[in-house]
Symmetry: C2
Subunit: 120 residues, 2 copies
């Protein structure tokens, strides 16, 4: 039986930052929610575009030559291979869409690397 | 330059129902917004899952053996080959995610079939 997924209900199930949780799969793509706060690492995903949709709050993404601000009700597509650094002064709730198996820190690795297939 | 896409700003650009507009592409997937009101046709997509995310309002999707209600801040994945019929009593604003080339009426065709690649 197909049932609706409520973003805010799912967000209540965890509180840590920079650790995406899978809430749905469509074909070989995953929908993940993540709470972000503070600075992430510069990184890129060499094999795929990546979508950020802000559910609640606001965030920024720094690129090589410009920075964008993204607020609730807005989305952005970060292109394959595009170096970027997400950050948020206050906590921001985000929905990510990307192929199954994408690691959050891309080519950069490091201590903010999260497991890539944790389901809520 | 990568720029944010604001859902409500995009919705202001059209007013007709059941005619999805493409607002972004990620790899070979498209993000489309659509205003829905009234009854759609029973149909299925034999080659792909399909995601509905409600941006504003509420809608229902009837399946063979149950009906779900979906409201703002909720999403659902309709599985490949799953027969379904969306409807909304009052106008509802929806974000769809599906592979490039998907036709809205799937296998059913008919007068509600919309062009599949109209960009906003």
């Amino acid at each position: 039986m197909t049932t609706p997924i409520n973003f805010q209900e799912k967000f209540k199930k965890f509180s840590d930052h920079w650790s995406p949780r899978v809430i749905a799969e469509m074909n070989d793509y995953q929908f993940k929610i993540v709470r972000i706060k503070g600075d992430f690492v510069w990184h890129q995903h060499d094999d795929t575009d990546e979508v950020f949709i802000v559910i609640d709050g606001k965030m920024s993404i720094e690129f090589d030559d410009h920075t964008i601000e993204l607020k609730s009700g807005e989305m952005i597509v970060v292109s394959k291979g595009e170096k970027h650094r997400p950050y948020a002064e206050l906590e921001c709730k985000v929905l990510l869409v990307e192929p199954r198996g994408v690691v959050n820190t891309g080519d950069a690795g490091g201590s903010l690397t999260a497991p890539d297939d944790i389901w809520l």
